[in-house]
Symmetry: C2
Subunit: 487 residues, 2 copies
């Protein structure tokens, strides 16, 4: 019989307590694939709960693919559940490239609770409303499946301009380039304004994707440490003076991977530095609308008097990444070059999804969606911070994100890089190892925990496990020299 405990006084409903404990046992291998679960009647009796409660727990496990039920035979742990030992490629390297691959691969593995990817929860996607918009386009479909305009669907550009107006950015639909996601915006922006060999100032740590873009374009990253209110300004000026970078790539709101928001004062100072040294700014605002505590400070673009800011965002985090729709405000000086590069990259996006998105936005679908999901994401953030408070040894530090999906942990290094990551994976829990973000080994160990795509109960279970692993490591491992908390 399963070894489960239930707590009638705690907040999660009984069926979720049961489901989450079974997930934990599947994750850590105590219930391997094909294990038979107790009968509904048997488990209900032994736990002293109703059969409906157990049925609900099993139904949730089944919906997520963790178990399979066969009429007359019973309920079994899914054959799709893969122990991480069967995934030898995951965690093999700790480079940016491998880390992104791992995140995507782990996303497909059933039997792992993942906080590895800064990702909205697919079960919260506004699919009914969006699907309805698509369905209504049947009569226009032949046109929408033809070649579309390079700059993107006109109706969508109108809707995006309206969104930007609300955020204080006066821009015309004709200034907007619709892209296949923020990655493409970054790639096009960098290619438009830089020459191979140029240096690009980035926060350290920064979005792994941008490091891939720079490498592919033979641009050189120049790393600017980020602190609790944004980049260190003295270091920034020093780096600019010494290396003369072409531009500064920044995620000022709910930064990935740290969750930090650059303060209004720092933004002003940074804009002044940019003007002083003629630095362009690529402002990636992909998380800006995922705010738990009122809107973030004014964007660089809002204060951009001399067209030095290339502002970009996307619907991947606020709606659904599978739309592959991002956008970029084209400053007049770079407009032709950006359109030329887009034409030489993939010509245009998918008309059907762009038009459906346009109608979804026009109908207020985004606002409605955010009203629904932001409280849920905030609750998950709270579950994470509470869990960290409860389970982490005192040596561990973490950021307190006011939006977005990312939280950044630092602790004294007392095991070689990757050990903690692999231990967690073996126990069915995934995070993003900090090594992927860092240039060189250091005395600190960092890790990113993303709270967007896991239930509060899953977050609690994961943080508890992680806390115990870290505790053990700190107790038995050797710390190497001094260390400084990063955040």
């Amino acid at each position: 019989m399963l070894d489960l405990t239930i707590n009638r006084d705690s907040k999660p409903p009984l069926y979720r307590q049961i489901a989450e404990q079974i997930k934990t046992q599947i994750s850590n291998g105590r219930l391997p694939a094909n294990s038979r679960l107790p009968t509904v009647r048997g488990l209900a009796r032994s736990l002293g709960v109703t059969r409906l409660t157990v049925q609900n727990a099993y139904a949730e496990l089944q919906a997520d693919g963790w178990v399979e039920a066969t009429v007359g035979r019973g309920t079994f742990v899914s054959t799709a559940v893969q122990q991480m030992s069967l995934q030898p490629t995951i965690g093999q390297y700790l480079t940016p490239d491998s880390a992104i691959n791992d995140m995507l691969a782990i996303n497909q593995v059933i039997g792992v609770r993942s906080m590895a990817m800064a990702h909205a929860d697919p079960s919260l996607f506004p699919m009914d409303a969006f699907w309805q918009q698509m369905a209504q386009l049947r009569l226009e479909a032949n046109q929408l499946f033809s070649y579309g305009p390079i700059q993107g669907d006109a109706a969508l550009r109108v809707a995006i301009a309206a969104l930007l107006h609300e955020d204080g950015m006066a821009t015309s639909p004709d200034d907007i380039l619709v892209t296949s996601g923020a990655m493409q915006s970054i790639s096009l922006a960098a290619q438009a304004i830089c020459q191979p060999g140029d240096m690009v100032l980035v926060e350290q740590p920064t979005f792994l994707g941008v490091l891939n873009v720079l490498k592919a374009q033979e641009l050189r990253p120049l790393h600017l440490p980020i602190q609790s209110h944004g980049p260190n300004l003295d270091q920034m000026e020093q780096l600019i003076k010494t290396h003369r970078p072409r531009c500064f790539y920044t995620v000022a709101n709910y930064h990935n991977p740290t969750g930090i928001t650059t303060s209004a004062a720092k933004r002003q100072a940074i804009l002044q530095l940019a003007q002083k040294y003629n630095l362009l700014i690529i402002e990636d605002d992909i998380y800006g609308k995922l705010s738990f505590a009122g809107p973030p400070p004014s964007s660089y673009k809002q204060q951009d008097d001399d067209d030095r800011v290339l502002y970009l965002s996307s619907f991947s985090k606020v709606l659904m990444p599978g739309l592959r729709v991002g956008y970029l405000i084209m400053p007049p000086a770079w407009r032709d070059q950006l359109l030329t590069l887009r034409r030489a990259t993939d010509l245009c996006g998918t008309g059907l999804l762009q038009r459906a998105l346009a109608h979804f936005l026009q109908d207020g679908g985004l606002k409605k969606h955010l009203r629904r999901v932001l409280p849920i994401y905030q609750e998950r953030r709270d579950a994470l911070l509470n869990g960290l408070q409860r389970w982490m040894p005192t040596a561990v530090r973490w950021s307190e994100p006011q939006g977005g999906f990312s939280c950044w942990l630092s602790l004294p290094r007392c095991a070689p890089p990757g050990v903690l990551y692999h231990q967690a994976l073996q126990n069915g829990f995934a995070f993003t190892p900090g090594e992927a973000y860092m240039l060189e080994e250091s005395n600190q160990e960092y890790l990113r925990l993303c709270f967007g795509n896991l239930s509060t109960e899953g977050i609690e279970a994961g943080v508890k496990l992680l806390g115990m692993l870290i505790q053990k490591q700190l107790a038995t491992g050797q710390t190497h020299g001094d260390w400084l908390p990063y955040v």
Copy 2:
């Protein structure tokens, strides 16, 4: 009253004869926007046809957006009909970049018959079958709108590998990279194998998009004239010896823009040259399945013993460009680099459309579609060749494409570049001006006529107009020196 003539002995049904003549008068400005058409009853009486015939003609014009009907007021030429004089940006320049822009812009203009774009006919898209496949994915939609695999949907890669097997290319789903159309395949392939400054051998003329890719990546095109059975081999070897290009980009089947197919013998000789001089080949087979007279000669990839061919194709021409789905067979040596570049470009494609396409292919939808549309495209090709035979002065030469969408004309130059193009546009007819494809002004004038996206009647009307414009030009203009027909 309208000046229309009908011919009861000719093939097109009477209603189409009426509709096409009205289109001609709208195109050339004799019926400007907001003109009132005769009543159904009045026109039927004056032409001696049934009212149903006129109703059908008006219904077709309305469906295409050329006219609008208001109950009680009558039928009017649509306000959406735009005289080309209102589109001052079209035809302003004759560069590759502008030509592509023009094609896309003209595509949106109601009131122009366009043979400018090598494009399937949207009214022939297999939309019912495809839409049904999409509709059946509702339950998987949340997963399909998440981040997808970088390499593309697994089911789609299996279906593509099966397609390639039928064409004699033994490839595994794991060798396939799904891209956002052939443009992205070309862009990634070139970036993977070339360094800035490298020379790339291309046919002259060649696909305009590839010239944009080369320019964006600072690669240098090396132009190899194409003849009636493919590139000139002696010139090819000479160019290779002198300039040592890194690779050869080729459209061997139903070449764009000339419609020429490289013969089997030339393919073998070219592969030998490639081996001799260690030249890589980027084989763009986007038109290969659009064959009117049996399959084309074996692809380079089929005969590629030493992995020097990067084979790519797409569903844009055989199905619908709005899918934005192309594919590339990754040779082992370039696999990692191609995946890395894709990751740094736009991460992944749209899961919904990729999965729906996978199911469409699995159900035999592509074969069924081609059985339906190839006879129609062949009929249009025939209408074009017959029209050219009938309306062109003897000095004009043209290719005889056995597939694809492109036909290439050459004639003695007797007017400055762009004059013929603008004259045709003013009369509501669009082609692609050859200047966009050529490096320098020459004594010949070239133009591309694409027959995929216009009815046989529209093609006849367009070619007749073009023939008269050319006749007039040859009669009044000065030819400059000698000229050689290009094909």
